[in-house]
Symmetry: C2
Subunit: 228 residues, 2 copies
Amino acid sequence: MVNRPTETQLLENLHTLPFFQDLDLGTTAVLAAQTRWQTYQTGEVIFWEGESAAGLYLMHAGWLKVVKTTPSGREQVLRFFGPGEMFNEIGALANQPNPATAVALEPVGLWLLPRQIMVQLMAERPLFAQHLIQQLAGRVIHLVGLVADLSLRPVVGRLASLLLTGATDDILHRPRWYTQAELASRLGTVPDVIQRALRQLEDSGVIAVERHHIRVLDREKLAEIAAQ
Amino acid sequence: MVNRPTETQLLENLHTLPFFQDLDLGTTAVLAAQTRWQTYQTGEVIFWEGESAAGLYLMHAGWLKVVKTTPSGREQVLRFFGPGEMFNEIGALANQPNPATAVALEPVGLWLLPRQIMVQLMAERPLFAQHLIQQLAGRVIHLVGLVADLSLRPVVGRLASLLLTGATDDILHRPRWYTQAELASRLGTVPDVIQRALRQLEDSGVIAVERHHIRVLDREKLAEIAAQ
DNA sequence: GTTTGTCGGCGACTTTTGTCGGATTGTGGT
DNA sequence: ACCACAATCCGACAAAAGTCGCCGACAAAC
């Protein structure tokens, strides 16, 4: 269970986002008054694919995944979202059914900025609309990269890239929720294959796999493998 | 070589697009005056991945593909574009380097709406910005679908889907540029695999493959295969 | 009409990815 | 400390996708 932050914390949080930096104090206050606090348990669904969405979500605590799922249960993670990040622009603002499903990976607390007030902001404030366009452009760029990865690169290469970009100080920390299954789903494959790939990289001496983190031993060689 | 249409044809063309429907006559005229006519030969590149782009492109004649390419030469088609369609919102309006490359598949004639005037419209006209947001949302939705397809469905399934959605009156016409190689690149695989997949579908009697078109014989069975 | 290049077709083979059953090891709850 | 569950690990196997070499058919160019 995640405790509800104070109104002040929300206001500070809003102000750190480029999205809302340009708004005057009055508008921000109205916005803050309209947002709803919501919490979810591990495994709970924030929204389903196909629903038209309630509004923009602003993460406060916890992590979640946005996924596409097959009837057989296999899934592809589009992105993980953590504290401070915002999502669901499509569902909230483009008047389109949401293309994917969001699931909590651990206890999540977030703010829901209702659709209606967002639509209003979008229509009235050119700068807000511009930020939104930037944000969507970012999504497109990310997805284009994902498509290219899935289509053109082998699993080991994708894993190597993820390790390189995801590691801070050559260490990729894996919280409880970040299992090999999630890693696999993120990279578009299955856990067994990830396990093999990890062992392969470990055997060639470029990484060291431990229980809750992966250490990058040889960045250069890893980058070579990633390039494939 | 594609002949340059008249100014009048351009104006008519602009007006059929939801994008520009809300503009007053004066603005449309200014817009039309600023656009540049450009032609490309088969195989010519309209823009490269990584470039920051010149503006929005409005197709008049011909077909092109937007692709990601590996050093080894394999490519993934993100989308084909034909007459009446607009592209390059990212490069033109989000101030981001373009994430992909555009290549002409046959002689192409198109209008280039310069970046600057688009940026101006975007900042001044809320409705224009809204259309842009809709357009980008469409791109995101399309890409999310592509990701899910590549990751979660086998080649035959993807091919079956393409045949179902691409066929008019149960016939998918294949112009000269629409070779098995392009089909493969569109579906994220290689020509040989497409050839096998086509033969497999033909052997099970659901389609008939001829030189310049593919006929759907059994829509229901094809839909079943597509569902896999 | 011949030539030349591209496209399509096909079988054999390799590599990569996915699947299955089961052993093993942590971890949280009691 | 014990139990139950989830996560990991592993070898063997199956299926899907990719590669290669070659041949034949068509189409534009000369």
